[in-house]
Every structure is written in C-alpha cells, then in structure tokens.
C-alpha cells in the first residue's frame, strides 16, 4: 500500500464552455479501494472515463503505475471496466464474454479455459458458461461483468455505479461480494457511487466531489466524523446544521453557545482556530441525537434540549423523528427499542458533547 497505482494531477475537463471537472488531484495506492462520491452530475463518471481513456482531459496528467497515460489509448491501458448497465456482449455467451479480453492477450486456449473458469468460480457462477446474457438475472449479469473485467488481471478496476441497477437486498449482498473479491485479489479499485452507505462500507478512501471539485479526501471515518464542509456533512448521512458562536476557551475545551439552544463544550482539537466570538457552525448528525422522555435523568456528558415531536417516520428497526426545538426543526434517527414516541409528545433531546462536529469556515 505504498506506491500509487493511479495518480491524477490537476485534471480539468471542459465540455465546450462547461467545466465538468476542475483541478482534480488524487492518488490511488496500490491495492486500495477508492470511492468517488458525490451527487448526480458532479463529474464522477467524467473522471472515471478520463482514467479509463474514454475521454481526454483538457488539462492535467494521469499516471498509471508511474507511466503518463494521457496519450495511451484505452485498449493499451490494461484496465478492468464495469458499467452500470453491465454492457455484456449480447451475442456472446457467458464464457465468451469473460474470455473476450484474454483473446487479445497472448494466452493459450487451455489457459483461457482455465482462467475463465477460475474467474467464474470467483464470482460464484461456475456452471453458467453456456448461457447467453439475456438468460441471466441482473445480479448474475453483474457478476459476469465483474468476472470479465478481472480475468485480464488489470492494473486498475474501474466501477461506475455497478450496484445501482440492483434491488436493495441484492445490492447489499453484491456489495459484500465485491469487497471480498477485491480484497482477495488485492486489486486497485476506483469505484463511483452516489450512495453514501456504499462508500462508507467499502472504501479505504473516499473522495467527496461537488460540481467537479474535490470537497474532501479521507478515510470513511475521517470524512464522516470530520467533514470539512456543510456539503460533506450533509451528504454523508442526514445532518442538522446550526449556527454557533465561541463563548469562551476553557482549558482543553471550547465552550460554544449554540444559537438559542444552550452551551456545549467541545474539545479544543475540534476547532483549533477558535477564538472567543468566532462564528462557527455545528453539525449534529441525526443518528447522534437521542430522543428521551422529558422526565428522564440527565447525565453530564450531554446537552439536553426540550423539544416536541413534529413527525414520526417509522422505518422498521429504526425510527426517524422530526422535532421542533426552539426555532429549529431537527432530525433524530434512533434505534427502536421499547415504545416509540408519538407526534406532539414533549421530549428531551440529548446531544452528547463528543458528537458535536464544528465547521470553522462556514459555507
């Protein structure tokens, strides 16, 4: 995990006057799983297609294993590509689909057979070689597409929203399956998704994009726990964002006055540049807000707000409350054990001190 398998430096992509990707830099360490995450239209596919060689960057360099590949055509880049719609060759059976890339590499007939069968076994479809793609389920097609991409032992595996065409349950199975195969082969992977839970679950590193610009690059925990902007905070899980002001510095803590809600101490390390009077914004993740009975005992590790339940959104194992709290409407996502609260109930909303995330440069 030391040398970088893919490196993008200052990539710009313009379509006529429209800039789809702007000064994009990142690197993929060998064997790592990196995810491009961002809303629709933010330039994820465009970036992936530039790495693949399907689009030329307007500016900047792309290196694969240290070699500059800007002018190298796609078929000489040794990449595995999986599309959202799988793009299996409809006129070839499963075996020939998977064998396709090997025919263009100097591999003997016997080796082709061996390697295709291994790949099909790896994706757990050992007996379907004779089937045509139209005779496969969506999940099976997905696996064949993956087998076809990895059988050529590519330097990088590029996946553009490969799971989004599957239904919810299958998607979770395939997510685990894909990660297992990636780890087993140790293949460098660039994955594109707009699904934050996929990104958090699978990645070694997440690149959050917005309007063609990198917002934040980091490990899943880092991006989740220490978002650098409201956008990142809002994109990874539903976040409540409220205004706050630094009240005073108190040893290792900073005491924040949260709008009209109360005081909350956060560790100094969370906002190193804070000085008394600084305006900041506070991110309170909905899954971190705990809804309690109004008369429940208060502990010292949290701030308690009195609130009233506005809406209840029952989700099976979890429940989402929308609460009126002062002039704010906050969301809280709680695991459900015991009876749920009802609309109109007066409750107490606990914000644990350690869960407060400070954004120093509000945007």
């Amino acid at each position: 995990m030391t040398d970088s398998a893919v490196e993008l430096s200052n990539i710009v992509k313009r379509f006529d006057s429209f800039t789809a990707v702007q000064r994009f830099s990142m690197s993929l360490e060998s064997g790592s799983f990196v995810t491009l995450l961002g809303p629709s239209g933010c330039g994820k596919t465009t970036t992936l297609r530039m790495v693949a060689g399907l689009l030329d960057p307007s500016e900047g360099d792309i290196r694969i294993r240290g070699r500059r590949v800007n002018e190298v055509p796609i078929h000489q880049r040794n990449l595995g590509l999986v599309f959202q719609n799988y793009a299996l060759f409809p006129h070839r059976n499963v075996f020939d689909n998977v064998a396709f890339g090997l025919k263009y590499r100097k591999v003997s007939k016997a080796d082709i057979r061996q390697r295709v069968n291994n790949a099909l076994e790896l994706v757990q479809l050992p007996d379907l070689g004779r089937r045509m793609p139209s005779e496969l389920s969506g999940g099976q097609q997905q696996r064949v597409a993956l087998a076809r991409a990895i059988v050529i032992e590519p330097d990088v595996l590029l996946l553009d929203e490969p799971l989004s065409a599957l239904d919810a349950n299958l998607r979770e199975d395939m997510r685990i399956e894909l990660k297992r195969i990636q780890t087993q082969l140790g293949i460098t992977t660039l994955f594109v998704t707009h699904d934050q839970s996929e990104a958090l679950a699978m990645s070694d590193k997440i690149v959050v994009m917005r309007d063609g610009v990198v917002e934040q690059i980091g490990a899943p925990r880092e991006v989740y726990d220490k978002p650098v902007s409201e956008f990142v905070a809002g994109f990874l899980g539903a976040a409540n964002i409220v205004d706050a002001r630094v009240h005073e510095l108190d040893g290792d803590n900073v005491l924040l006055q949260v709008d009209d809600l109360g005081m909350i101490p956060v560790p100094r390390a969370r906002c190193p540049a804070c000085a008394p009077g600084t305006a900041v914004r506070l991110v309170l993740r909905s899954e971190h807000l705990i809804v309690q009975r109004a008369d429940e005992e208060h502990s010292h590790d949290g701030l308690y707000l009195s609130a009233r339940i506005a809406t209840v959104d029952y989700q099976g194992q979890a429940i989402r409350y929308f609460l009126h709290c002062g002039k704010h409407t906050l969301q809280a996502l709680n695991m459900l054990d015991g009876p749920a609260f009802n609309e109109g109930d007066s409750v107490s909303l606990k914000v644990r001190h350690r869960d407060a995330v400070v954004l120093e440069t509000p945007r």
């Binding site: 399907l54 055509p73 078929h75 880049r77 060759f89 396709f100 076809r148 991409a149 050529i152």
Partner: protein, 290 residues
C-alpha cells in the same frame, strides 16, 4: 357485461380492423382475382376464355425467355442490394455516430428523397447522364471527349437508378439498428484490449447485422419488382421481370398470361422472404420500419 380479459382480447382486433379490411379488399381479393385469371385463356379473338387452363403456366414456366429474364432480374436486384449495403452501411454508421447538433438535419437529408416522386428522381438521371446531359456537357466542355458518351440505356444505368431509389431504405434500417446498440459495449470491448477496428468487427457489425439484413431484404424485393427504372433508364435488352408483366397486361392485354407471370415473381420473392424469416425473423423488419 364482458369481462376485462375478454375486452382486452377483442381490442386489438377492433384497432386492427380498418387495416385488415383494407388489406383484404385491396390486396387479398385482387390477388385472388389474379390467381383465377391466370387459369383463363386468351383466345385469338382477344376475348378471355373462362375456365381452368394450364397453358399460361406452361408457357411461363417452360419458355427460356422468361427464365432468363427472371434470372437477370434477380441478378440486378442482387447487385443493387450489394451496392446499397456497401454504400449505405458507412453512411448510416456516420449519421448514427455523429455527435453534431445537426443530426436531425442529416436524418432529414436521408428521408428528403422520399418527398420527390420516384419517377421524377429516376427521370433526373436523363438530365445528368443523357447525351445532352450535365455530365456530357462538362466532358465536352473540358475537351476530354469529342463525342458525347452514351451512358444511358444499359444495365449499369438501371442499377444506378435502383441504387439511387433504394439506398435510403438500407441506410434507415442500418441506422435504426446502430442507434439501438449500447455505446458502452464498444467501450467495454476497447477496455478489454480491442482497437477501434477490432471492436467494430467484434461488436458493432454483428449486432447491426439484423438491420442490414432487413434493409437488404426490402431493397432486394423492391428492386426485383420494379419496372419503372428499367423502362426509363434501361435499353430494350434490359427489361426486368415486371416489365414482362407490364407488357403482357398493358401492351398485349393478355391478362391471363400477365397474371401467371406476376404470380411467378411473387412466388420467387416469397421464397426469398421465407429464407430471411427463417434466419433473421420478421420482427427485425418491423423494428427497422418503425
């Protein structure tokens, strides 16, 4: 009250009925007349003798004159189809793959010929290739030739006219099948190691074959059944089979023989269509025409 299912079963027939009625009254019934006619006999006096006579069929099937013209008709149709395919495929490919904003304009140009009558389009070649046509005027003017060239009234000019007439059919059919091919397929093939040419040969060409076949079938059938092009652009020895039918019915007023001849051509073309249907299927034709 009829059940929903029964109503749904009936509905297609209600919707189809105007078309079916038209086909039955204007196509099947007249065809039946033709079949009946073909067994009548034309007498020396010019009156038709009603009855069941096999004479016309005997003549149509045994006379080498008819057989030769049938074969040359099929040859001309075949050459025309081949030329249309060779010229039409790249055109369709270009239009389908072009990213310009003028794609609609390109498509419009493809259907534009249909706005001008087929006969006028055919006649236009006389102004181009004729003895006092545009091409000869240029050649004479440049001093390349001293005498005007005789370029019309031979098999080549007939084929030229047919290609001109039929090219859009192939182009449109191939175009439809090309735009139906997922662009990602070629990208996938390229990522697996194909260069552009190999990706075309491995993926795009085989997947567009049904469109090419459907276009070719239309082209062949229309070419084999034409009589205007050889009439206008062909010489006396370039008659095609439909011209024989025309001669028999219109010139000689021999309806029974004309009927037998036209049924013969119909049967041969039906065989071609059946072979196509066996290997490619009629569904593709519907797709290409829609």
């Amino acid at each position: 009250m009829a059940s929903i299912e029964a109503r749904e079963k009936r509905q297609p027939w209600i919707l189809l009925s105007p078309a079916l009625l038209t086909i039955v009254t204007l196509l099947l019934v007249p065809l039946l007349f033709i079949v009946v006619y073909s067994f009548w006999l034309r007498t020396a006096s010019g009156a038709d003798q009603i009855g069941f006579h096999l004479d016309n069929w005997q003549e149509a099937l045994s006379d080498p004159f008819y057989r030769d013209i049938l074969l040359s008709t099929l040859r001309i149709a075949g050459i025309t189809t081949l030329l249309c395919a060779v010229l039409g495929y790249p055109t369709a490919y270009f239009v389908a793959r072009s990213r310009t904003r003028h794609k609609t304009l390109l498509l419009l140009l493809l259907v534009l010929p249909f706005w001008v009558s087929y006969i006028i389009r055919t006649l236009s070649w006389i102004n181009i290739l004729g003895v006092s046509g545009a091409l000869n005027a240029v050649l004479l003017g440049l001093g390349i030739v001293q005498e005007p060239l005789q370029m019309l009234y031979n098999e080549a000019s007939v084929i030229l006219g047919l290609v001109h007439f039929l090219l859009p059919f192939i182009v449109l059919n191939v175009y439809v099948s090309l735009i139906g091919i997922d662009r990602h397929l070629e990208s996938a093939a390229r990522s697996l190691g194909c260069n552009q040419r190999q990706a075309f040969l491995e993926i795009t060409l085989p997947l567009s074959m049904p469109g090419l076949a459907a276009g070719s079938l239309l082209c062949f059938v229309l070419a084999a059944g034409t009589y205007i092009t050889p009439l206008v652009l062909g010489g006396p020895r370039d008659a095609m089979f439909a011209n024989l039918v025309f001669d028999a019915i219109i010139t000689q007023l021999d309806w029974p023989l004309g009927s037998a001849l036209s049924l013969m051509l119909l049967a041969v073309l039906a065989v071609v269509v059946a072979v196509y249907n066996r290997f490619i299927g009629m569904g593709q034709l519907a797709r290409g025409l829609s």
